[in-house]
């Protein structure tokens, strides 16, 4: 079976950002995403908007270039004021074309 190396970008952010981040990643080239609600603590402690429900964790499978662009966008737009974490992993998929 032919497999291909692509990237998985994971973003964990306070839930008010959900719609904005989804818009961002779609615009930057992601073809899909998967989302769950999570709880957590970070450097900002039990984060500020925990009263409003949990954080969301958004995962998206993308090409290397798109992964870089998403990370850049998160850093520029949200890292300063919001409770947010973003990281990238290498994953192997079958249908490369589905994600690029």
């Amino acid at each position: 079976m032919n497999t291909h190396a692509i990237k998985k970008v994971t973003i964990i952010a306070e839930s008010v950002l959900e719609l904005k981040i989804i818009e961002d990643i779609k615009r930057l080239g992601a073809k899909g995403y998967t989302l769950i609600e999570v709880r957590g603590e970070g450097t900002k402690g039990r984060h500020a908007s925990d009263w409003a429900g949990n954080s969301v964790k958004i995962e998206t499978l993308v090409t290397d270039l798109v992964a870089e662009a998403i990370l850049q966008r998160m850093a520029d737009e949200y890292f300063e004021y919001y409770a947010i974490v973003a990281f990238v992993e290498n994953v192997t998929v079958v249908r490369q074309e589905k994600f690029s």
């Binding site: 008010v16 904005k20 500020a48 908007s49 409003a52 429900g53 949990n54 004021y81």
Partner: protein, 323 residues
């Protein structure tokens, strides 16, 4: 009834005791935790139910009794955030975003404080106007908009659009107004079949909700030390001032003392559903610890315990003058 007796009756009601139980649960680090979604579900239920109730009552209210209280509620929604902003800037020496954030929260209204006020009236058999839930919606919207407007002017930025959408299409307003319109169109008779769920269970549901609110408040209280004396004073004095203004506006626009006290509680309360979400999007620079500790940690328990009885006492005193 004696004022102290009113206070005692308020403090020993199931809802206030459930709130205290929630606080205790957090302080003793209990593993009590509401299942994911129960908090959201309960708050949706409460908002829709007060809307529905308000709609049914409004369907029986002649417009002539309604327009003056409506206007003065909107006026409160315009004036109180301006006062809050000025106080935060001038007295508290806070920066623009934090001041605007406080203004948005204290201008708007806490649905739970509103309900708690109406429940005290019912327990004391003090009548109040049935259309009060309508006023909740009228007070909620302008306050947040005014606060964000001030901020966007002062910061020369244009993020108002998204935040306004956030408020108007937000679930608080949607459920409140939606319930109201459904109640208005269906009328008392049409709503009767759904009354067992939306009306009879209402106060029990509020009790559960306050159990969870108690846990949230306790988590905020732990941070009280970090917010400084201005916030602490503000979180007590702003509700008292706005509560008095609400009572006065209510009486002047012809509300009964009970209705005026409820309007006072509304003005005195600080939003914690619509405002925080809008503020977080529009004013990310504002520190959530500051405004959430103030509204949830201090103002909410203050109003719930002594504030509401105080506004009622005030309404009864002032009603003597106006009549």
């Amino acid at each position: 009834m004696e004022s102290l007796e009113v206070l005692r009756s308020n403090l020993l009601s199931p809802i206030v005791l459930a709130f205290a139980l929630g606080m205790i649960a957090t302080f003793i680090k209990s593993d009590l935790r509401f299942p994911e979604g129960l908090y959201t579900g309960l708050s949706m239920y409460l908002l829709f139910s007060i809307g529905l109730k308000g709609g049914v009552e409004l369907s029986d209210t002649p417009l002539r009794e309604f327009w003056l209280p409506a206007l003065s509620t909107i006026a409160l929604g315009l004036i109180t955030p301006a006062i809050a902003y000025a106080a935060a800037r001038k007295i508290g020496r806070l920066d623009v975003p934090n001041s605007a954030a406080l203004a948005a929260h204290y201008g708007s209204v806490s649905a739970v404080t509103f309900i708690a006020a109406t429940m005290l009236m019912q327990r004391l058999q003090t009548p109040y106007e049935g259309f009060m839930p309508t006023l909740v919606a009228l007070l909620e919207i302008p306050a947040i908009l005014v606060a964000l407007l001030i901020a966007s002017r002062a910061m020369k930025r244009r993020t108002l659009g998204a935040a306004m959408r956030e408020v108007l299409a937000g679930r608080t307003i949607l459920l409140l107004l939606g319930g109201l319109v459904i109640g208005l169109f269906s009328g008392r008779e049409g709503v009767a079949p759904v009354a067992p769920l939306f009306f009879d269970l209402f106060r029990g549901a509020l009790t559960l909700f306050l159990l969870e609110m108690g846990m949230i408040t306790a988590r905020r209280l732990i941070e009280v030390r970090s917010v400084g004396p201005f916030i602490f004073g503000f979180a007590i004095l702003a509700p008292v001032l706005f509560g008095a203004m609400g009572v006065a506006c209510g009486l002047l626009s012809g509300l009964s003392p009970g209705g005026a006290a409820v309007l006072g509680a509304m003005a005195a309360s600080a939003s914690y559903i619509a405002a925080p979400a809008a503020v977080r999007i529009a004013l990310p620079e504002a520190n959530p610890s500051l405004y959430l500790t103030a509204t949830l940690g201090i103002t909410f328990p203050f109003n719930l315990s002594v504030g509401i009885p105080l506004y009622l006492w005030l309404a009864n005193q002032l009603a003597g003058f106006t009549v």
